[in-house]
Amino acid sequence: MNGRLDRAEIVIVGNGIAGITAALEARRLAPEKRIVVISSQLHPPIHTPALKQFACARLEREQLLVHPAGIERQQRIHVITSRVEEIQAQSQYLLLSGNRPFHYGKLLLATGSVPQGLPETLPGQHFDGVLTLHRLRDYLDLRRRLPTVQEAVVIGGGAHAVETVMTLLYWGIRTHWLLRGEYPLSRQLDAQGGALVRETLHRAGAIIHQGIEVVDIVGRIGVVVGVITNQRKMIPCQLVLVCTGSRPAIELSERCSMPLCRQHGILVDDLLRTNVPNIFAAGDVAAIRDPQTNRYAPRAQWYAAGEQGRIAGAMLADRPDLTRPLLGVSWHATHLGELSLLIAGNPHLQYPGIETLTDASQGGYRRLALFEDRLIGYLSLGHIQPDSLAIKRLIEEGHSVRPILKALLKGDVDAHHYFARLQAPPVQALPLINSQPERQRLPITGKLALTPEQLPLLAGSSPTGPSPKVPAGSSAYSHHTLWSYLEQKERP
């Protein structure tokens, strides 16, 4: 075996958005290092959130690609299609399928997520026509079947299920939506917001069954013909789509010779380091710290995975100085039928001192969580998507939102005008694109409600020890320590 082929300074397992972003970032920062991506995925990285548009035939396969075809070769990133069987962390090598060893200098686990699927004990789940929608292959299968389907059942109550229901309605298929609870998105929305989504989908034509679980899937000569519910009702259908969420793909981390700390995902610190030296994790598989609540959980969203990929790339290239201090607050935006959903920060955070405001006018719903005069969480459901990244910026930079509180509540805030009023840099002072230094951050002029002295860094909260120093006064600093500050205020 060629000695050069079985080792690399940087090895990335997984070819999703986190993996490919890390590889490209590492290449940019370390032009001489050998970078290898190992994946069992049989296609280049794709825009997975756009798969619903693909299911509606509004996109073709070529339009799903994240990067122009051939970028790996152009950037000298070697891709190996193989399965990683185990990690020998002490000797720093992987065992690929066929017992092929592969040595690494630094390793990134970006294995993504796997669908939850149906309970293993549920009868009939292997009939033809029962699909779990997760990967491109599943959507290709769905598109091939759609012309022959008149009636379908969707199981699941999350945003993925809502999007799937809308896809089926788009094709004119009679769609039954089975909800375990009273309203959808029960983890992201409160009862009022959930009811609004439910009503919107009902108006769109979905047949919604609340408080129902499937106890059996029935088929005829190997093909699904219906589902039986716990209310002893049979719903006939030619297609059952399972959208019951996903979980981090941690199976490989369980086959590591040194135990990797896990809690809902692989635990990582703010620089995406695991507890094992030279092993990092990013994307849906990594449990990262919420800077507002200090709790570790995976952030299975497209934008977060890309951001983590950029941090991981800098770490793999031995350039921790170029990482951003923190990933920022969580942020999720999508369309749910005719409704636009935005969740930024923690709009459901309940704690003494946190004020919650809601508004249900104009056929929408907004929920704001405020701490003193700062926004710490924003939920918006409505017919217009607000400037979602500007709302995220409002939360992260800790500006006072009193002057725009009414507009935020009504969902028609003009963030551009507000940031301009906060003396954001005028156009003449903006750095030109080609002359922008690496990772330059524009000056932040907003008022921080809490001073750095009031906000001690949380020591020992990360799996590998204290977090790295964050420049005092930086925007991320305030939320980094909000939770500890709230706890301190509670102490006598």
């Binding site: 794709i46 825009h47 959130p49 756009a50 619903k52 548009q53 509004r58 996109l59 070529e62 339009q63 799903l64 690609l65 994240v66 990067h67 122009p68 497209w302 934008y303 890309g306 951001e307 950029r310 935006a333 999508t334 369309h335 636009s340 935005l342 217009i384 998507q385 607000p386 400037d387 979602s388 990244l389 910026r393 551009h416 005008h417 940031f419 301009a420 009023r421 003396q423 954001a424 840099p425 005028p426 156009v427 903006l430 750095p431 030109l432 694109i433 080609n434 922008q436 330059q440 951050r441 524009l442």
Partner: protein, 101 residues
């Protein structure tokens, strides 16, 4: 007096988005293509990966350059975006890149 003048002064001129925010928007793009489907100025097929790549730092192909010049900032691309991004602002930066080159 200066305070009074400041009250009536127009807000500082600023582009819709700064370059760092444009880069952030590109990173948040989910590639659903809805902005391009809504665009009245798009005359030849362009994929979103090529357009995103060209907007901030990648090479600008002839078709992307033609599209950027054709864009007349009508804003039709903004409402269809599921994640609330501003393709019009991204196109503005692309126009600036073209001017720089």
């Amino acid at each position: 007096m200066r305070k009074l003048l400041r009250m009536f002064a127009p807000p500082p001129a600023g582009l819709h988005k700064t370059v760092s925010h444009i880069a952030q928007e590109i990173n948040a793009c989910i590639g659903c293509n809805e902005c391009l489907l809504a665009c009245p100025a798009l005359s030849e097929p362009i994929t979103i990966d090529v357009l995103n790549h060209a907007t901030v730092h990648g090479p600008i192909t002839e078709s992307v350059a033609h599209f950027a010049r054709s864009c007349y900032q009508c804003g039709a691309c903004v409402p269809p975006c599921p994640v609330g991004l501003h393709r019009d602002a991204m196109m503005l930066w692309l126009k600036i890149r073209l001017l720089q080159e």
